[in-house]
Symmetry: C2
Subunit: 146 residues, 2 copies
Amino acid sequence: MHAELQLDNQICFRLYTATRLITQAYTPILTKLGITYPQYLVLMVLWEKDNQPVNDIAHRLLLETNTVTPLLQRMEKQGIVCRKKGEKDKRQQIVSLTAKGKELEKKAFAKIPSSMGDQLSACPLKLEDYKRLAQELDSIIETLKK
Amino acid sequence: MHAELQLDNQICFRLYTATRLITQAYTPILTKLGITYPQYLVLMVLWEKDNQPVNDIAHRLLLETNTVTPLLQRMEKQGIVCRKKGEKDKRQQIVSLTAKGKELEKKAFAKIPSSMGDQLSACPLKLEDYKRLAQELDSIIETLKK
DNA sequence: CCATATTGTATCGTACGCGATATATTGTTA
DNA sequence: TAACAATATATCGCGTACGATACAATATGG
């Protein structure tokens, strides 16, 4: 048995698992808000800056447009965002928050930070650990994105 | 704008992104081997211990059987594993490596560690950083799995 | 200015993840 | 042991991810 190929030695498997479990921790709240985790990511991008073309949203999330386009189509159908052709560049679709999409920020702020805090309260990591973790993940991300 | 809801402050988004990018780094090699990343995870479980029921594989990977069953069906169709009814408990499907599945371990060991090492060589993290990262991810995983 | 390359978005196909449900087998208990 | 609960797996539906491809609009070079 090759030690390098053992599951327990793999950072990637841990990232994969931690991501799924944290996403699952978000899910009950997001379901009440009527959205999914990737949709929540799109909303965070738009809460930071409204009226962005599909490409900018995809770049911000490091996703391809063939992932983001159908995601936005579903969100539009739910009345969370709207899309309209760009005026300067007619190829672009400019994505904007609807009133419903803006409302979701308040609801998210009212529920998500406290719930995630609760769910992670038993975790021994301190604030400084999370900060270092964030930096280390950033350096992995920076290394791997071309 | 609520600082707690900003994308840059979120550990979860970093985990999600780092996972996707590392998985993408694995993909070219795994594609040559004819498998996907989740299939590679299943193989690692079987390389550790052959002839396991679906449930044990799912538990090892912290996945649900409704994810693992179709995965195994695809792997069986490709001739990487085979499944047969359990003798003691006829409800179980015992999953075993085929010769092709066993061969893949050698091929994986020949290519994956060096390739991943190359791709992450520009990353400033040291071995001790990866070790601590692994421990911290484990404590997040341990906290969130019920 | 026109042919061509590039860009922005959309569509299609495949493989996950996972909630919900179904079914067969085994365990338990009255 | 017959009725019922629990377990192991499978199936279905939906929403991502992403490679491959298509198409319209814009940019560019001759």
